[in-house]
């Protein structure tokens, strides 16, 4: 069973300001989900071409239908800062190509501190 690691103060994690910690030889980032107000923890490396994923954004997913119809859906994605690839914040899977997946980790807040299980 993985251990819980303290990665910083919850109040410091805001949209555009992730907490990034090195845990067991890999970087894990915790980002604020502006849709739910909650936190998401993902590995800080895009499986596409290696960018620091947590320097990207966390966004509400847009879906659509031909004919110019757009809809914000009940799904959060982490968007890579390099090429804009999206990864589901819950599963880590890229919706456009499931062969690409980033590790996601359980995250909780305790006494104002953010804990990640990794």
């Amino acid at each position: 069973m993985s251990d819980w690691h303290d990665v910083g103060a919850e109040a410091d994690i805001q949209p555009g300001a992730p907490a990034i910690a090195r845990i067991g030889g890999r970087e894990v980032g915790v980002m604020r989900d502006p849709r739910t107000g909650g936190l998401v923890a993902v590995r800080n490396r895009c499986p596409h071409s290696g960018a620091q994923l947590c320097l990207g954004t966390v966004e509400q997913r847009i879906e659509g239908e031909p004919g110019g119809r757009y809809e914000l859906v009940d799904r959060t994605v982490v968007v890579c800062p390099w090429h804009g690839w999206e990864f589901d914040a819950q599963t880590g899977v890229c919706p456009e190509d499931e062969a690409y997946r980033v590790a996601v980790y359980p995250v909780r807040v305790e006494d104002g501190r953010v804990l990640v299980q990794a």
Binding site: H83, G84, E96
Partner: protein, 360 residues
């Protein structure tokens, strides 16, 4: 062999005018160029036609009557089916006058049906439409579709907008509803209502137009149709891209594939890589298959990566100067690609309207 691009020439304009109301005929006769069709400022410096073909004595053109095409393109090239395509009249959808365009498109379709089809069971045809007037274009498809010798609706590469634009949906829907393919033939870029070719302004020379003008319009339509989600809206739509070249396809579609994930918020209905959509819905006529300077193996490898041989259908472009003679092309192709490209892919693509006559 099935030839997807056999051009009919208007050697005798009166043959078409007889299908136009007498009240309108003088207008067409009085126009500076053939029947008022927009034409090329970039003229071929030598000849538009293969110079080894017999020509009509009045017009100096080959391919101006059914017997010439039966002799040269069907019997001469060994075709089981020859799909007739307009030549100068490809620009009918770009005439400034939508009413004259509608009458001329209608007359050209009647001309094929009355003066060409009856001469040989191997003839199939392409429907011209006045694309300036979408309801009129749809009506013309509806009028022609019952004759199953028409196998496709023919649009020009030159256009007012790329064909994924929603204004064109009724035309694409009408074609698909009748089991007709939509063929987009390069050409007419910069003519009539069409935008200039190249994206960088008008080219100076014929060779420039011929090299990139015709390829760029085909690229734009291909990308537009996929990006608008046209094939999700019209699942039965099938599109043949004619004479825009093919060697550029891997580069362009890989670029499109690269971009669609990262830019998806603008087009979130794109639910698969563009290449996958292309493989199901789009075919390329082979002519002019690029010369590769001895690198044919490289070309086959590149094309295989984007779906060849399934995405390719043979075309000769008879009677033009840059046509690809079928034996020459067949010998150039990898052996396993010959049968699908020369025959089977077109049969699958066109479906029951092709109804290939029994071998002679």
């Amino acid at each position: 062999m099935i030839d997807c691009d056999v051009h009919v020439q208007i050697a005798h304009p009166e043959e078409i005018l007889k299908f136009i109301d007498p009240a309108e005929r003088e207008w067409y006769r009085a126009q500076a160029y053939l029947l008022g069709l927009p034409s090329y400022p970039w003229s071929n410096p030598s000849t538009w036609f293969r110079s080894d073909l017999p020509v009509d004595p009045d017009s100096g053109m080959p391919g101006g009557d059914a017997q010439s095409i039966i002799r040269d393109a069907l019997d001469g090239q060994g075709a089981d089916v020859g799909i007739l395509t307009a030549d100068d009249a490809l620009s009918v959808g770009l005439m400034e006058n939508a009413y004259r365009a509608a009458a001329l498109a209608r007359a050209h379709n009647d001309w094929l049906r009355e003066d060409w089809f009856p001469h040989d069971e191997r003839f199939r045809g392409s429907i011209l439409v006045p694309l300036q007037d979408i309801p009129a274009a749809v009506a013309e498809i509806e009028r022609c579709a019952p004759d199953r010798r028409f196998v496709q609706v023919l649009l020009s590469g030159g256009s007012e907008r790329p064909y994924g634009d929603p204004r064109y949906l009724p035309v694409l829907e009408a074609a698909a509803a009748h089991g007709l393919a939509v063929a987009i033939h390069s050409g007419m870029e910069g003519m009539g209502l069409a935008h200039q070719p190249s994206g960088a302004g008008a080219p100076t020379f014929y060779i420039e137009w011929h090299t990139i003008g015709s390829a760029c319009s085909i690229m734009a339509h291909l990308m537009s149709l996929i990006t608008h989600g046209t094939f999700r809206r019209i699942p039965d739509l099938k599109v043949l891209l004619i004479e825009g070249g093919i060697a550029w396809l891997p580069g362009m579609i890989w670029r499109h594939d690269t971009n669609w994930r990262g830019l998806r918020d603008d087009t979130p209905w794109m639910d698969e890589p563009p290449l996958e959509t292309l493989k199901r819905h789009i075919r390329f006529a082979t002519q002019p298959l690029e010369h590769t300077g001895g690198n044919d193996e490289l070309l086959w490898e590149m094309l295989a990566a984007v779906g060849a041989p399934d995405i390719l259908c043979y075309s000769s472009d008879y009677p033009h100067w840059d046509g690809d003679e079928p034996k020459w092309l067949e010998n150039r192709l990898p052996e396993a690609w010959r049968r699908p490209i020369m025959h089977d892919n077109a049969v699958a693509f066109y479906g029951s309207r092709l109804d290939v006559p029994a071998a002679r």
